[in-house]
Symmetry: none
């Protein structure tokens, strides 16, 4: 290893693939290291890493990059309690957009779990996430409909054919989309094949689509594309979301809602 091959021109694609290989092999890459290895400037490497991150193939961090977001790699149960501070605030704002009397489909995800906790009475809820369903069981004043199917360990929700078929029959007024990466260029993305298919189906049948995105998922892509950004009617972001990432969205008619600043974190 460590052999520095002197190729007159290494194609960018080839270099990016090599970076990915090294990433899966070593579990991390360091920008300065890669620059030396490819005999190029760190700027070029940084551009590569930025692009790979935008495509959802790695997670950009200060000094280099790590394999795809630990959030996607760690099973749902570990993330279960992760809805602290920031996500609570997001969830509260999200729940505030739901009106009594509506039929709401709640997609999987910890942010949506936080939203479910603060849902007003009088709504009908459908979900394929057992964690969210568990949260709403026993809430008098909320009609709960569960979607079945094999539960995907990664997303923690029922996916696959059975769930899809059930989703086909739903025409919710509102869809709370979860666990998305959002990028003006790439649109809405997610981390699982079946998850993406499910989201597409849900979007199709929903009257309005609302997504909540944490700041770290703003401006990054994901391996599977769900759809363009203009399918969103509303977007909930954190208090510290950078304006430049939102301007394009507001321009195409997406209503932007800022969550209140979380006390900690």
């Amino acid at each position: 290893m460590g052999t520095i091959v002197d190729l007159p021109s290494v194609l960018p694609q080839q270099r990016q693939q090599a970076i990915l290989d090294r990433l899966t092999k070593d579990g991390r890459v360091i920008a300065a290291e890669l620059a030396q290895m490819f005999q190029t400037s760190e700027d070029t490497i940084r551009r590569d890493l930025r692009e790979l991150a935008a495509r959802g193939l790695c997670q950009r961090v200060y000094g280099g990059a790590l394999p795809i977001s630990p959030a996607a790699a760690t099973p749902a149960v570990v993330r279960r309690g992760a809805a602290t501070g920031r996500k609570q605030a997001l969830g509260a704002t999200l729940a505030g957009l739901v009106q009594p009397g509506q039929f709401v489909f709640i997609d999987a995800g910890t942010t949506n779990l936080a939203a479910a906790r603060r849902l007003p009475d009088g709504v009908t809820v459908a979900t394929h996430d057992p964690l969210i369903a568990a949260e709403l069981v026993g809430r008098t004043g909320i009609d709960l409909i569960l979607l079945g199917g094999r539960v995907d360990p990664q997303s923690g929700a029922a996916l696959g054919l059975t769930a899809l078929r059930a989703a086909l029959e739903m025409r919710p007024d509102l869809l709370l989309l979860g666990a998305c990466a959002l990028d003006a260029a790439n649109g809405l993305g997610t981390f699982g094949l079946d998850d993406a298919e499910m989201k597409r189906q849900l979007i199709n049948g929903a009257g309005a689509v609302i997504a909540a995105v944490t700041t770290d998922k703003l401006g990054t892509g994901a391996p599977y594309i769900v759809g363009p950004t203009d399918i969103l009617s509303d977007l909930v972001v954190e208090a510290d979301a950078p304006d430049h990432a939102l301007q394009g969205l507001a321009a195409i008619g997406v209503r932007i809602h800022r969550a209140e600043r979380a006390e900690a974190d």
Copy 2:
């Protein structure tokens, strides 16, 4: 242990992840120790710990950090129906009757929830109870299948046509029946119309049927009859169950299992 690896340079994020790993592995971390391990100043470590604590991923203490309290990590609702000591004991015994490799249908109920918690790895589980599903999400080694439908507020599980239809397609090796009243004369009973229908359907398709009954439900009837007692292959009862109620059952070939005595209720 204690091996100090020569890390050329560790990315900050990577270091924080490593701290978390160590935290879950050792159950605690010490700031001074980490500083030496990562060849960095204690200030940096302290900053890491502060940040992780702010994100709710650990609990900051004097000298280092501890894992987040498991109690705080589980959602309130999952604990809401927390089984009492008696039901814990029943559930444990129930779970002991499940063998790896089996396909088990777990009916609704808090006793079954307790059983789900102690299920061995390697089983495939189907359920229509979101609380039970929530408990098993993220259990690597357990395949989870969720049944959909409208969630009945009384039983807290998906019932009705949709759930029934899904149940029709299942042929589990084992059925853990829940929330039943058991009487030699009237047979197995339950408290909801749809619930009874669902149970009948499940029993039809199951290879073996096991029920767990608390002592107060032994020898009493219920509004809706599910079926005769001889459909049971096994019955789990509490340590203080009166013999006279069990004799008739043993006579018709039901295997009786007594749970260990619970310390408190």
